[in-house]
Symmetry: C2
Subunit: 295 residues, 2 copies
Amino acid sequence: MTQPIVDTLCVIGPGLIGSSVLRRARLDSAIARETIAVDRDEQVCARVCELDLADIITTDALRGAAEADVVMLCVPVGAIATVAAEILPVMKPGAILTDVGSTRRSVVDAIAPHLRPDVAYVPAHPMAGTEHSGPDAGFATLFENRWCLLTPLENTSSKAIATIEALWHAMGARTRVMDIDHHDRICAIVSHVPHLLAFSICHTADTLADELRSEVLDFAASGFRDFTRIAASDPIMWRDIFLNNREAILEMLERFAQDAQKMATAIREGDEATIVSSVERGRAIRRSLIENRQA
Amino acid sequence: MTQPIVDTLCVIGPGLIGSSVLRRARLDSAIARETIAVDRDEQVCARVCELDLADIITTDALRGAAEADVVMLCVPVGAIATVAAEILPVMKPGAILTDVGSTRRSVVDAIAPHLRPDVAYVPAHPMAGTEHSGPDAGFATLFENRWCLLTPLENTSSKAIATIEALWHAMGARTRVMDIDHHDRICAIVSHVPHLLAFSICHTADTLADELRSEVLDFAASGFRDFTRIAASDPIMWRDIFLNNREAILEMLERFAQDAQKMATAIREGDEATIVSSVERGRAIRRSLIENRQA
């Protein structure tokens, strides 16, 4: 029998992402010999136990971290650095710390002072998810054909990077290694700003006069309906993403606001050429996505 | 055999919507005894002929309109008033003029001076569509379970309204009669502003530096991908919608911009409560839609 990718894998925070990792590991013995699930909430641990998602299930993060060869932090972005600072001192020499956060710069900067030379840190961001959360929301194929973006530090060992890449390949994902700030700007435009716009337009609809508001719900055409789908996500997760990637988000939102303002001016002034060219750009982007098989 | 709803139905502009109406009429003889398709483009007429979508197919709008009991204008919003002014003089006394435009106030105002007392005008807006266009894009079930909003004038005969309602019910749609300006504000928030935002964010992505732009296409997560779907629509149709509903669109866009600005300020200032409450409003709206079976 060949060696598994990880001997002991500890997932801290078995929510949508973490429980999907554990489910996949349950199906494929090449991923880890032993799995540990940690959650500070006893009820979550009880549910993870009922679902039989891991070999060891505990509320004690230090115990889980001390035994693991890879510790994967699947907690909200705002909690990653706190949990990392807590567990790093007890991790085994040669072990790897990784995470699954959607923003990188603020997390990496917060973790940096706590890092040890004998524990590699490999930040990873699997671009997958649904609007649901908690251990019941996960499923083993969540990462199938999705991207996982790795943003290792300059001095991270290539062996540790290769292990985390192999882990995500075994989950069915494709991986790409990239610069931290580049990552944050890409995610701001492809995910964070679209979500911000979706939350905002739901807010706008919600503040309309009562009669109009109820009819908005009756007649939600495809446009608004699609927006609400991406606005249905977890509030704490999004609070943390917005606060931890604020610079890139505010930069991209500012660019967007200028583009939307140009459209508004074109509409006000009846500038047909600008309107048509803007719509045509949207179609071109859509076509590129279809050619890239991302749509 | 019972009487069909319409004796002779003339569809001017057999594109996505018009050809779907004709396809449905082909399947259900209770809709019309005879169908006429009019398009000024000979190639479109040839294609409609190949697809066998109507009994009579002609480039001559006057001929089609003169023979019809109901004339349905399925041309872009910006062309409705021009075509109406051209055909109204030749329509039969007692005939009904209807249309399928997505905006109402500007169209109704433009048609008003040309109306005849012996021809009823019943503006109708079927809330259905895809990002595709032309006679090949239509299908007979396009209107199934979708809303069709009727915005008749004060003096429109209830008999004419009932005929157009019956026609849409036969297409599988639900109908609602409402005030013209109310219609335009609802459609601004549920459809026109969401589309404007989608076009704008595609534009923003398209103007990023080359490397970033190509990675946006690689990593389009669910947020951006959903936006591009609604941004893939016909440029002429959207130009006309934006220009013909500019007042309501600019009003709703202004409200939206204020809400988005509030979110940006909350992110900049680290105001967690405002961010969480905004995300929670989005979820609540989504839940309402699911309860209304619109999602």
